[in-house]
């Protein structure tokens, strides 16, 4: 083990830059282990921080942009619930969906803004001709939901929201299937959470739908 003078990394970096020479012996070498059985090798600092291939890519940006609209429609659906449903259980469900989606929309908007990307408001799907993300309600679906009341509304809401959430799972699946996508840590973590949360929500809504159907039969 070499005894070396330890400079703060920032200082040593600045020193290298201004001197325009190879790294001063300010720190032990950076190594990169190999696969099991393969040797460990010394690498340079520039190579060490080269995350150029695990950055966000177009697919990540489109995922975030698309998910904002997707989430926004979920909120539009829950808005209807307040006036169209008579069920407290449904209202609680709506509140839960709404708040989680609002929080996530903010996160996605910040993520996009931080990266200088276009930040959708989420209401773009109201523009004629804009393609809908998987699972989203068409204007006809939305009109049908708006026209329904009481138990019929609840049933339709659950069916639509399950489909809507399943669409989000499809978006996550498509993201992970896109070459080079979800390699960035934040996108990976977010997509991972969307998958977990919406899967759980689908299960709960499925159970609610079953109960509703049974009660309705009786």
């Amino acid at each position: 083990m070499r005894v070396v003078a330890l400079l703060p990394a920032l200082v040593s970096f600045a020193a290298c830059r201004t001197a325009g020479v190879t790294a001063v012996e300010a720190r032990p070498p950076i190594v990169q282990p190999g696969a099991p059985g393969e040797p460990t090798r010394v690498i340079g600092a520039e190579q060490a921080i080269d995350l150029s291939q695990v950055q966000y890519i177009g697919a990540d940006i489109k995922f975030m942009q698309g998910m904002i609209g997707h989430h926004t429609q979920a909120i539009e659906m829950t808005d209807l619930l307040r006036t169209h449903s008579g069920s407290d259980v449904m209202k609680k469900l709506a509140l839960r969906i709404e708040l989680s989606q609002v929080d996530e929309i903010k996160m996605m908007q910040r993520w996009l803004a931080d990266r200088g990307q276009q930040v959708p408001t989420g209401r773009e799907h109201h523009t004629h001709g804009v393609a809908l993300m998987p699972g989203m309600l068409t204007p006809d679906d939305m009109a049908r939901l708006e026209a329904a009341k009481g138990v019929e509304f609840d049933r339709l809401f659950l069916e639509y929201m399950i489909r809507h959430h399943e669409g989000a799972l499809t978006m996550v699946k498509d993201l992970f299937a896109s070459p080079g996508a979800a390699q960035e840590s934040e996108v990976f973590a977010f997509a991972s959470d969307v998958e977990a949360d919406q899967t759980a929500e689908i299960d709960r809504m499925g159970a609610m739908l079953n109960t509703l159907m049974k009660e309705h039969q009786r």
Binding site: P8, V31, R115, F190, E195, A200
Partner: protein
Amino acid sequence: MRSIGNILLYMSLLLVCVGVTGGAQERRGSTPAADPRVGLKAGLRDAGEAAKNMERVATLPKPEGFFDPKAPGGTPTPPERDPNLPPPDPNEPPDPRFANMLGFANSDLAFSGTHLFMGNFHGFNTYDVEIARKPRLLASAVCPGGQGDVSVHGNLLFMSVEQTRGRIDCGTQGIQDKVSAERFRGIRIFDISDLSRPRQIAAIQTCRGSHTHTLVPDPKDPGNLYVYGSGTSLVRSAEELAGCSGLKPGEDPNTALFSVDVIKVPLAAPQNAKIVNRPRIFADPTTGAINGLWSGGEHGPGTQKTPETNQCHDITVFPQVGLAAGACSGNGILLDISDPEHPVRLDQATDKNFAYWHSATFNNDGTKVIFTDEWGGGTRPRCRATDPPTWGADAIFDIVDRKLQFRGYYKMPAAQTEQENCVAHNGSLIPVPGRDIMAQGWYQGGVSVFDFTDSAHAIEIAFFDRGPIDAKTLITGGYWSAYWYNGNIYGSEIARGIDVFRLTPSEYLSQNEIDAATQVRTDELNVQEQGRVAWPATAVVARAYLDQLTRGKAIEPERARAVRTAVDRADDARSSRGKSQAAIDQLDGLAAQLDRDAAAAVGRDAARLRSLAATLKGVAAKLH
């Protein structure tokens, strides 16, 4: 850290919180405005600092290779975009200033001898901390995949990998394909016998990757080491790793959900480590259903929403008492690990204030366990004045007849800003004899040291905090972990590097108590693998007990004076190397009196009197 989504804040609860907050502030004992942690200046390297009863003695920024020089602290405040410009093309290469901001995050710590190992989403760094005030970088290994939590056992270093960018060959280029034999998600094992050149010797692939892991020695089987791997992320496809299924239990009884990975590592041939069990520790004992615990959802009006228990986030083991505490998403669970390969669930807890059961810490006797709630996943501000003191907090349980009994909460009490991610996170015990004390990281909420000897009334006894990394935007940072190791507290700061602290004496903690904790030396520390500390019979330990009894007015002043004099005299007798029958007799006599005092006392006082008596006898024995 869990991650970004998965946060629920009910507006209705916000309303409830207003009512709760007042009470909590009263409980804190002083006006919140007087807390020096409130209103600290922001900055990566020049943030304002506040400390009480502890001091920062060293800071070492992240080494080269583990930060982006263009954004050393993470993503800076975004520049204003000219709204008249056309939107950028999503397929343009990314702006490197906003690159992969968690890509270089520091994560968990492990210790061995004079070495500190700091995990990072990008690999790990090894430091020499022989002189705690001068930590020295010894080696940097690049091997990305997050979270990079590390544990150490002799010459073996273990690392958790969960992200889909992880590669078997430690490459930084990620994996572009949906299915790839090059992808690595699971637990890596490195041979660190040459510290500067760690060699990867095994890479155990798991279905969900490894978010965290825990080493589990088997007292009955020293030839093998077990590792509990906790995966919290997506289950990969069977095309990539045979046998992996993320289906629901009803669709596939062999689903990778609802289990933990038990890996057996033959210490003579660690390269042969493999998964030997995926125990169904959440099963319903009556029906046998593998999804037998919390099914997800809220706990009633005004409560937190807690996700389904289909994973553990972290497991802490205490092999000497044969117990493990699992912080498992929707539940805190207690496991019997006397057969480490086949853990058996003993009990489980839910909590209406918990958003996500995150980690666990036993006290030294194994009679209490603290669970943390990582509300907001670790990347959100959850210590604002409006956040309830029972949310994102520690829940403290007593273990009675191998069952969990809730006693109280503890949350770092100083209000933090919108720009500081803050919630309960990783901490470790400070081995002060006679008390239960923990140092804990709260991300950008700083380090908080608290006493939970009375598990229903935990109190803060020391703290350190910095202002936010950035004044305007939240940049993920702060303490992932704050662990006591051989006399100092080491903080793993996600963005800023490593901080070293020492405790200073106060009305809450005497110099003798700090010295007694410092006398306890460990040659290896993985915080999720707890061992029982036995304090040596020394004058310092005796004085620590005496200080506690005096503080609690649980000893007659006369008796206290006599003990102090006798202990001082014993010190003198030892240093002069002369035998002192008088000193021995005095100590033994006092010990007998203290034992009688103990018989008349109750609870902690009785225990401390007995411990003091035993220590005096031990001190006397050394004089023979």
